[in-house]
Amino acid sequence: MQVREYVGRRLFKLPLIMIAMSILIFGISRIGASPIGIYLEHEMTPAEVVELEERFNLNDSLPEQYWAWATGVVRGDLGWSGVSTAPVSDVLWKFTAASMELALVAAAFGIVAGIGLGTYAGSRRDKPGDHITRIIAISGASLPLFWLALLVLIFFYVILGWAPTGRYDVNTWETISHPTGFYTVDALLNGSWTAFGDALSHLWLPALVLAYGAMGPIARIMRSSLVDELEKDYVDAARAKGLPERLVIGRHARRNAMIPTVTVIGHAFGHLLQGSVVIELIFQWPGIGRWIATAVLRGDQATILAFVLITSVIFLTVNLIVDVLYAYLDRRVELGT
């Protein structure tokens, strides 16, 4: 099958998975407490409560309720977010952009560090450097991210005072507009280097902490595929013609070893999305993660459903890109249906 055909099929399947997933999550949401719980107030009369129930079609059958919700979503009406006291659609992009900015920077850190660490370990197989890398990778998968973030915050915020929490300094950003919602990009579009520096100063620490968890799996698969590559004939040939080891690895083996590594990047991005919830909570980063963390405590179902939808759109899209990239890089991949 051609790569193009494969991409077409995947693009066709994406909405199908999304629809099935939305049915699943909507079904689960109707098992729990009533969705109107978050909107109830003490002063409400029984008539008002009934009216509220009707507005949520609670007297209809489940498929009808789903249809009402799903058609709303398609029209851009995702309901009223109780925790933001605003329509979900009004705040969703602002929060998503904040989270995406954090996650993308963290992903860049994680991929670069993971590949670097994996190369280092793979080229020093069974030497102390290899073992230390293994321990770093395993501990990265074992460290509770919320705990690591707190420890890091004590050090850089309380003791050193290097890293401010939140996303921006109010005074710096007074005159700056937000065309994209990505603060680093917004700052550049406004031509303000002060604002750009401010955005970066808020961004680097949470992104680094978030990247730490994602780095481990990348480093480990990079290490093992580099070890595999180094046993191949072309490596012997490169060595035999007198190429320095640095170039053998840097120019030949590492490139091929990166192909299998691409496959875990989609997975690692899932880690990032998961980790961003607690990271945003601790660093007071105004993204979807912090938004959902407040929503789950109050049973705000409109917010929870919107969060799950947007997260899975991001997750599926990243995975699709990764798979296509992999299929493109490695033509030996069997492209199934």
């Binding site: 699943l24 689960i28 729990g32 407490a33 074992s142 705990w147 997975h267 999305l273 049973g299 929870i304």
Partner: protein, 305 residues
């Protein structure tokens, strides 16, 4: 389709049964790995701590899983008489939370891992062994659940069901089985092609007998490895959800301890959060080390590495 996104290990595992006939060999190989021995010792200590919790520290009445409150000693630093590891901002004894929290972690990990292994292995076996449209339907369901990162799905489910530790367990169990299903299916598909399965069919064994005697024992090794790693992962996930606030307040749970200690950190009261998080880290780390070592022992390829 999405098979590429979630690669199954191409590494062949030696069968657990063939190996367990040489059980001593697995044991000896494990002893050679210092990380595995270290991890096992920590696990044993933690399990002992959970089992003998009432002997280590008197249970709180009426509910042993609620932090005892000592309002005369709020925010006491470690080393205070009667509060070896200090107290929380609400006067809870940190040592009590650490010791009785191990029971919560054990309960959570054992229940969740049992459920996800049983469900995952069943679904994966049926899909792989029966094949055809059954396989297609089951795997599309798996694809749908996998469309959401596991912890995010669990977070949403726990949020919808309402904050309680029981719901955390339920949410993790509901969202976690897909990994096992995919792994098991891939193993079964592979084992199904082996010659001994053909010969069993030739001598007229029933499908059920072939599955039970040949396929299942030969595809279970990677499941054992993944289950070990999952014991650590789910305590990590459970603590994360508890930290967010999805467990009952005052519950003796390690993630709760970190959440309780969070506010005091800026003013130098480091102990509550530190000890709570340290326990989660040790638990997850030791299971990851053992699982990782187990993979090396069960994977014949790694012997040469």
């Amino acid at each position: 389709m999405a098979d590429i996104a979630h690669p199954v290990p191409t590494v062949r595992f030696q069968t657990l049964r063939a190996r367990s006939a040489r059980g001593g060999e697995i044991f000896r190989a494990s002893l050679k790995s210092p990380t595995m021995v270290g991890g096992s010792i920590v696990i044993i200590l933690m399990v002992l701590m959970a089992v003998f919790a009432p002997l280590i520290i008197e249970p709180n009445v009426p509910d042993a899983y609620q932090m005892p409150r000592d309002y005369t000693a709020i925010n006491a630093p470690p080393g205070t008489p009667g509060h070896l590891l200090g107290t929380t901002p609400t006067g809870g004894d940190v040592l009590y939370g650490v010791v009785w929290g191990s029971r919560m972690s054990m309960r959570l990990s054992v229940i969740v891992v049992t459920v996800v292994v049983v469900v995952g292995v069943t679904v994966g076996s049926i899909a792989g062994f029966v094949g055809g449209w059954v396989d297609e339907v089951l795997m599309r369901i798996v694809d749908v659940v996998l469309a959401i990162p596991e912890l995010i799905l669990a977070l949403a489910i726990a949020g919808i069901l309402g904050p309680s530790f029981r719901n955390i367990i339920l949410a993790l169990a509901v969202s976690g089985w897909t990994g096992f299903a995919r792994l098991m299916r891939a193993e079964v598909l592979h084992v199904k092609l082996e010659e001994y399965v053909d010969s069993a069919r030739v001598i007229g064994d029933s499908r059920w007998r072939i599955f039970r005697k040949d396929v299942l024992p030969n595809s279970i090794s990677p499941i054992v490895v993944l289950a070990t790693l999952s014991m650590g992962k789910y305590v990590l996930f459970g603590a994360t959800l508890a930290f967010i606030g999805l467990a009952e307040a005052g519950l003796t749970e390690w993630g709760n301890l970190v959440a309780d200690g969070q506010t005091g950190i800026a003013s130098g009261r480091w102990w509550t959060a530190t000890f709570g998080g340290l326990m989660v880290f040790l638990w997850a780390l030791s299971f990851n080390l053992v699982g990782d070592g187990l993979r090396d022992v069960l994977d014949p390829r790694s012997e040469t590495r």
